[in-house]
Symmetry: C2
Subunit: 349 residues, 2 copies
Amino acid sequence: MVVEKWSRPGGVVHRTTIRDVAAKADVSVTTASRALNGTGRMSEETRSRVERVARELDYRPNYMARGLVQQRSFTLGLLTDDTYGRFTLPVAAGLSSAMTDKGVSVFLSAGEHEAHRLELNLRAMEEKRIDGLVISGKRIDRGLPIDVSSLGMPVVYVYSLCPEDAVGFVPDDINAARTAVQHLIGLGRRKIAHIAGRPSFEASHLRETGWRMALEENGLTPCGEALYSNWTEAHGYEAAFHLIATAGERPDAIFCSNDQIARGVIDAFVQMGIKVPDDIAIVGFDNWEVFAKATRPPLTTMDMELTGLGKSAGLALLDMIEGKPIEVGVRKTPCHLVVRESCGAGKPE
Amino acid sequence: MVVEKWSRPGGVVHRTTIRDVAAKADVSVTTASRALNGTGRMSEETRSRVERVARELDYRPNYMARGLVQQRSFTLGLLTDDTYGRFTLPVAAGLSSAMTDKGVSVFLSAGEHEAHRLELNLRAMEEKRIDGLVISGKRIDRGLPIDVSSLGMPVVYVYSLCPEDAVGFVPDDINAARTAVQHLIGLGRRKIAHIAGRPSFEASHLRETGWRMALEENGLTPCGEALYSNWTEAHGYEAAFHLIATAGERPDAIFCSNDQIARGVIDAFVQMGIKVPDDIAIVGFDNWEVFAKATRPPLTTMDMELTGLGKSAGLALLDMIEGKPIEVGVRKTPCHLVVRESCGAGKPE
DNA sequence: CTGAAAGCGCTTACAG
DNA sequence: CTGAAAGCGCTTACAG
């Protein structure tokens, strides 16, 4: 039973301060500060000497002190109600990674918070004097139940509903869907059906729109109506049976509004003895690998580039923090097609 | 094309400081500070007056200033290499939520970092003067490629390999597996097989151990050997066929080492015309709802309580930061069974 | 019960 | 090219 105490015996550790490096480099604190920050003019000799000493002493500037005088914390907040992680963690990883490169850190506050707890979390971030806030969520047509308009700091929305005069980033669903359907058309498919997600999600309708656009651009007509229901395998499964049972022409391709639906469709076809992609090609949406790689055959699908989305949002927020003017509105960022085997175009991975 | 500038026109906004509240409450800054922090003795009248003024002025203490003098940032770091999100986001959500209640915030650094970038991220956290660090990952038998021993601050490991003399938190895989198998036994099943995960994962072996223990405790013998392979549906699917094709007694229940495997097993049984749970009961592991709720029937499975794990780790870290002695070693935290329908015990949800 | 003063570790006019 | 000094917004001995 080993027990450990963590406070240093004999009081606090002495961490190297800028005084220490100044003293050892035989310059004033002023000069040390300037040397380390690359500001001011000074002899190259002096600067490199200070830098060397700092390295020798393993000096880490104290950002609390710096922040106090510069009125900046070099810190961001990320607020999300997604605890499930499918969308938020990639966004958060992209954000935090890009921010690290700029010397800023990000506070995470994740939870299915009701308004009150959200206030609490936001308040904690204000007390930490975050320089800016990014708000994220699990769908692009819902926001967090919190008013942020009088926050007095820049805010950016990612994968979330974005107020009128704010700046937001969401995947370009319409064009992503177009790309997916164009891929099918490029492979010679002509009778392309669409199985959509929940009708209450804006993303469902945007993806349907993209499907229709691609068809129209190529002089094709929709193969039946879009089939709306849940974002689930069960929906895909049932819709697939419906599509086949229904009189009229049988589709030679199906664009599915997410990977789970696509998975259900493929399962149904296995059961019906319909071959994918030979008889019918399938393309999904999300590139959720745990589904997309598990279907037989592996699924061709759209990737929303969530990591890049987080990065872009962070960079924009940094610009705002630095006072650069920025155009409000939501940016729709491009998605890319991941070709696997469900359309007959890919090579096995 | 609306363009917005974020820096306040006419210079910096004046944020309310403790001076402002002291002045308006007609006390010294000293007294204001003590009133707000609940320290020192003073008339109730004074204290409540200060508090009221603070509220009126919407005063938010500046934690950078406080941190500077208290040599504490009320801030933690969370380092993980999981960008996938399955395990880390629930842990992070539990951690950040519990920490908010204690007035501490958590920096997230997520990325599949090679050692060098990891150093960078850690360094950034050191410069922000985090009070402690939690290290997490995507499996309990791997650590991050980074040396943290000379960090000079408390560290806690969650869902990650934990060094000898450190403190760590992982789910109690053995007992979780025991519980799962006991559930099967309690339902009258006697011939219980086990489909395991990847043999290179410690979790696979721990869960096998739990399976054997529960059997032994009930005077039962294993129904065949544990079948090891990948953590995938494909593995479950194939293993199920193998189990049925193999001569010898047919199992009346299968304990699967994760939900994906269980899903594959159930799919195989559908195809073979074997009824779940009537002919064979299935229990999974992870409670990954996107799988566990999508199987037909919905899957009974073990939940690792990742959110609670994050919370426990954070609380322990706080104790360490406050200098309380703490026993080193890894704590195995209990998991709980989520009963759905794949064992014949649940009611439909 | 209350306050004046020092100090946490930096940056940045200001002066030389 | 370099430095002494003020100050960011707090907390906390120390003194009364």
